[in-house]
């Protein structure tokens, strides 16, 4: 089957009739879903926002279309318009045909016939898309009952069990009676998929199905989606902002910008031969987890246009480094690119962009900043933060009147590490592994803590008085994950930045001067200080957050997922800024992130945490290129890479199940319950993992290497806690997609 994403010319000067004629009013006979000239408008306080401006595509059975774009590009609105789930105030025009039947204009009641039956959707947030008061079984059976009123109760139950088994939920029969809160996020997303495929839909729309999940769980869920597609033969529309996620799954890609497709084509064409500067920028802005090379990321400056006025030129022109006067003369239509008839790009320069043009040349990537500390060996640099055996245990109690202690949650269990000057240290791990608790323990800085935290020579054991605490607060500041939530919406930027300075007892004139410095430092215009946070874009807000953290000149900045709430193109700018500030101001960072590619790009050292313990720690290149602990190996293999060929052929370790609850933490090695190496071990060796706790130790180079080098080899900066590093991986947990799955287009 060939790629068949026909996308019509969208020249605004043509009338609708002409446009439809060009796009082909009638879809190819075998398309399950064909969308023609889809337009969505919203009434807002500012005027009419034209959120989706003419989308055409055809979807053939069994194919996957990936829709990629920044937030606000109209991806989700498109999917909701197809599903008929937009608010009644939205105005939808065009045509959406499901197997030849028109869906637009149907009443809500008539749409119910299709929704959940032939047209199903998986939503982004699994935590809120299941009703908490009904069991999972009831909710699946509900989906079956609505569209199959004649089905017997027994048959429905059997089908529900079958569905749960299909999406990989262990002991499905018992789990039918479980409530959503008894499932983890990944499990709930599986249930959502089970509900979506309950009636064998012809089209499955997945709107950012894995964005809210951990990487290991993301890999599992993507695997389930893949399987669901194989079982049902449904066509899938996969909406995502993550170019890595779709690289392995999609057959065709549609890149959206400002409510319009700007480039469409087969996945290989888009990734290896992008012809639109926006696509090139998106690809260049993503850090790669599999590449050690340190080069700055490509930021796409500016922000997407707002869609109140119809653009008179190319909508990307204000952000495009290649824009010229010709670009402003009318919005370019999607036109076939020379290399392949089905690859279309909406750029007048697309022909000159093919082949060898490097994205770093197109977008001016800043030079790699060098810190004055980079030249000094790590051992000779001063320590800014030292943690010694920090523990945080929460008692778990039960009973209403008399509280019985039934166990202990070891959120952080004996953590020791240090951070030197000018260094970026990262902690990675799944959610629930204790990363955030570690940060909170450092920020709390209280003498009653179990374990010692030393910040810039001040120990928490002597931090009884407010003066020491105040001094410590000047050494250590924090940047939060969500830039919107971290800034008081009722403060102007000036007030936001003045708060820490006032608190440090600075006088008015000095505060004003410092704020102007800070604004310049983080790349914001100083005259914007009187604006409110909601007048800035997400990336700018995060810059304000960074400026606030830097206000009191700290030595160490704690970054809690600083870029995970930002769009890819904006993320690149913030990462570059952090890199540059580290070099210029000699800062140290403690970074917590779940995105390992960001970690690899920015940090010098990394610690991998699992259930409150560090399982592997060391220099970032060492750990990422030569992971020894099976958990690190699994984590790294789960990260999607924006490279379709690599994605298709890569071996993945898919971990079974979720993070065990810390209550049931095993006696020996914490990881034994999910360990792919453990599963492959003979029982005699398994015994050791179950009874003894592996300690964090450096790997001494083996005797053979010593002999080979004929000299004592220095011990590399890498420690791990495993008895059988580099062990054989259990075959059940290894997944390789056969290349036959995807016919090369």
């Amino acid at each position: 089957m060939s790629s068949e994403t026909t996308t019509g010319a969208t020249d605004p000067s043509q009338s609708t009739v002409e446009r439809l004629h060009v796009a082909g009013l009638h879809a190819p006979g075998d398309a399950v879903l064909s969308v023609r000239d889809l337009n969505v408008r919203f009434n807002t306080e500012n005027g009419v926002v034209h959120a989706v401006r003419g989308i055409d595509f055809d979807l053939l059975p069994g194919r996957t279309l990936g829709i990629v774009g920044e937030s606000g590009s109209g991806k989700s609105v498109t999917s909701l318009a197809i599903m008929g789930l937009l608010a009644p105030t939205a105005e939808v025009t065009g045509s959406v045909r499901l197997k030849g039947r028109e869906l637009l204009g149907l009443s809500d009641k008539a749409m119910c016939e299709y929704r959940g039956n032939e047209l199903a959707m998986v939503f982004q947030d699994p935590l809120s898309s299941l009703t908490p008061v009904f069991t999972v079984g009831t909710q699946i059976i509900e989906a079956l009952t609505i569209h199959n009123p004649t089905m017997s109760k027994k048959a429905k139950e059997a089908r529900a069990v079958e569905l749960l088994a299909m999406v990989g939920i262990p002991s499905p029969k018992d789990r039918l009676k479980a409530f959503p809160h008894e499932f983890s996020g990944g499990m709930r997303q599986r249930v959502m998929i089970a509900i979506a495929i309950a009636n064998n839909p012809r089209v499955l729309i997945a709107d950012e199905p894995t964005t809210a999940l951990d990487v290991t769980i993301q890999a599992q869920v993507l695997e389930v989606l893949h399987k669901a597609q194989e079982e049902t033969g449904a066509a899938v529309v996969m909406i995502t902002h993550d170019l890595g996620v779709v690289a392995g799954m999609a057959d065709d890609i549609m890149v959206m910008y400002a409510g319009k497709p700007v480039e469409t084509g087969a996945v290989d064409h888009i990734y290896y031969n992008p012809r639109m500067p926006y696509t090139m920028g998106l690809l260049g802005a993503v850090p790669r987890v599999d590449v050690a090379e340190k080069s700055s990321l490509v930021p796409i400056e500016g922000m997407p246009p707002n869609l109140l006025q119809a653009p008179t030129g190319c909508s990307f022109a204000p952000r495009c480094p290649l824009a010229s006067d010709a670009c402003l003369d009318g919005e370019p239509a999607l036109a076939p690119v020379a290399d392949d008839g089905l690859h279309r790009a909406a750029c007048i320069k697309s022909d000159s962009l093919g082949g060898t043009v490097d994205v770093h040349d197109v977008f001016a990537a800043p030079p790699v900043p060098v810190s004055r500390f980079d030249a000094i060996p790590r051992a000779e640099r001063a320590t800014v933060l030292q943690l010694t055996d920090v523990r945080k245990h929460f008692p778990l109690t039960r009973g209403a009147l008399i509280k019985r202690r039934i166990g202990t949650v070891k959120a952080v269990d004996g953590l020791s590490f240090d951070i030197r000057e000018g260094e970026c240290f990262s902690i990675v791990g799944e959610s629930g592994s204790g990363k955030t608790t570690t940060l909170l323990e450092i920020m709390e800085f209280h003498p009653d803590q179990d374990g010692e935290v030393v910040i810039g020579g001040l120990s928490n054991k002597q931090a009884a008085d407010a003066k020491t605490k105040g001094k410590m607060r000047r050494e250590l500041q924090m940047v939060f994950q969500d830039p919107t939530g971290a800034l008081d919406p009722r403060f102007t930027v000036y007030e936001v930045l003045a708060e820490p300075l006032q608190n440090a007892g600075m006088d008015r004139a000095a505060i004003k001067k410092r704020i102007m410095e800070l604004m310049k430092l983080v790349g914001l215009q100083p005259d914007h200080v009187n604006r409110f946070p909601n007048q800035f874009s997400g990336g700018q807000r995060q810059r304000i957050g960074i400026a606030r953290a830097l206000a009191v000149n700290p030595k160490l900045v704690v970054l809690d997922e600083p870029v995970s709430a930002l769009d890819v193109s904006v993320q690149a700018g913030v990462i570059n800024l952090l890199d540059q500030l580290r070099a210029e101001l000699g800062l140290s960072y403690l970074l917590v992130a779940h995105d390992l590619s960001v970690v690899r790009h920015i940090s010098n050292r990394v610690a991998v945490m699992y259930l409150g313990k560090i399982v592997e720690i060391g220099a970032v290149d060492r750990v990422f290129d030569n992971p020894r602990h099976p958990y690190t190996r699994a984590l790294l293999s789960a990260i999607p890479v924006p490279d379709p060929h690599l994605e298709r052929t890569r071996e993945r370790i898919i971990l079974q199940g979720d993070l065990p609850s810390p209550l049931q933490a095993p006696k020996g090695c914490n990881f034994a319950t999910r360990c792919p190496v453990f599963a492959a071990l003979p029982p005699a060796k398994q015994e050791k993992c179950l009874t003894l706790e592996p300690l964090l130790e450096a790997a001494a180079p083996s005797a053979a290497v010593q002999v080979l080098q004929q000299a004592p080899v220095p011990v590399p900066d890498q420690q791990f806690a495993c008895f059988y590093p580099d062990g054989e991986i259990d075959e059940d947990m290894l997944v390789v997609h056969e290349p036959a799955d995807h016919l090369a287009p």
């Binding site: 009338s15 609708t16 009739v17 408008r41 009434n43 807002t44 306080e45 500012n46 005027g47 009419v48 608010a87 105030t89 105005e91 796409i300 400056e301 500016g302 922000m303 246009p305 707002n306 109140l308 006025q309 653009p311 008179t312 030129g313 909508s315 022109a317 204000p318 952000r319 824009a323 010229s324 006067d325 670009c327 402003l328 920020m443 407010a466 605490k469 105040g470 607060r473 500041q477 924090m478 939060f480 994950q481 969500d482 939530g485 971290a486 800034l487 008081d488 919406p489 009722r490 708060e499 820490p500 608190n503 215009q525 604006r531 909601n534 007048q535 800035f536 874009s537 606030r548």
Partner: protein, 329 residues
């Protein structure tokens, strides 16, 4: 985006995007716009303002006041001399209504505003300090909720508070008693809202900067529940006016010679058939007062609610013209 036509660096374009006034609209502008769009609410506001103005300047339009007895017109229906007629004792009803409206509005506004203020500070403090402080403060609050307000009002205004009664006018006493019993529900609501605000990162950020608790409550918590507070003020005013009317009606609120709408209605109930104007006039005013507040409240809720679907008629008209343009090729 406003200037797609300039080949400027992206930063400049973005700047223009933010600076053009039609893109970034202040929150207050949005709220006012949405409020003004709700015709019912605007009508409500107009009636309320008119009544307030009437209660202050209405007295200048008649020579009579609420104490002077006109012995030649006792229990007379409305006439040229007495616009709204006179009572059984020969007192001008128009003058009494003006006075009563003023007292009722005064009680409503003072109780509505002050009780919300108490509730805000109390609720925010509970949420911020948490732990033992929260428990003690919550206990006091619960105790007050369980106290029979009606009895306390009755005792304070008639029997028990003899000393108080001598020193204070009855409307001030009623205000104090109403205040004591009106803030608890709001305080609980504010406590739960602030508790969720406490989880927000900007409060954590302030704590990690070492900002003292008092400053955090006053600068971060109170302003952020502002929209709820405004809604609660209008609701509180209505509730206070109704409470005053109810208490005065059963004879434990405002005492003669002070007049309020409740007193007027209470006195007239027994004589509806003989002196109907004595009953219907104050009742109509009370309906206008509470009704206008209710109408306003609905509009305010719509204006403050971010998820409100209220979108302008002007915008709809614009959308229609666009559609019309599309239809005509």
């Amino acid at each position: 985006m406003t200037n797609l036509n300039a080949v400027d660096p992206a930063a400049v374009a973005q700047d223009a995007h933010l600076e053009s006034a039609d893109v970034v609209i202040g929150k207050s502008t949005i709220i006012i716009r949405r409020f003004l769009r709700n015709k019912t609410a605007v009508t409500g506001l107009a009636i309320f303002v008119a009544l307030t103005v009437f209660s202050f300047i209405g007295g200048f339009f008649t020579q009579w006041d609420k104490e002077t007895i006109d012995p030649f017109n006792i229990g007379m229906p409305p006439s040229g001399e007495h616009y709204l007629g006179t009572s059984q004792a020969g007192i001008d009803l128009y003058a009494m209504t003006v006075e009563g409206t003023r007292i009722s509005i005064l009680i409503g506004l003072v109780v509505g505003l002050v009780s919300v203020l108490i509730a805000a500070v109390y609720g925010c403090s509970m949420a911020y300090f948490g732990g033992k402080v929260d428990k003690v403060m919550l206990f006091i609050l619960e105790a007050l909720i369980m106290m029979p307000a009606l009895l306390v009002v009755a005792v304070a205004t008639s029997g028990g508070g003899a000393g108080l009664k001598r020193d204070l006018p009855s409307w001030l006493l009623l205000i104090i008693v109403l205040l004591v019993f009106s803030w608890m529900g709001t305080a609980r609501l504010i406590r739960s809202m602030s508790m969720s605000l406490m989880q927000r990162d900007f409060v954590k950020a302030a704590q990690y900067m070492g900002v003292p608790p008092r400053r955090i409550v006053w600068r971060h918590l109170v302003p952020n529940i502002g929209s709820l507070l405004i809604l609660d003020i209008t609701r509180g005013v209505t509730a206070a006016i109704l409470a005053e009317v109810a208490f005065s009606f059963i004879g434990i609120g405002i005492k003669v010679p002070d007049v309020s709408l409740g007193v007027l209605i209470g006195q007239a109930t027994s004589q509806v058939s003989t002196f109907p104007w004595m009953f219907w006039v104050p009742l109509t005013v009370m309906f206008l007062l509470t009704g206008s507040l209710a109408m306003m409240n609905d509009g305010l809720r719509d204006a403050f609610d971010p998820s409100s679907t209220s979108s302008g008629k002007a915008k709809k008209a614009k959308a229609r013209t666009i559609r019309a343009e599309k239809k005509t090729p």
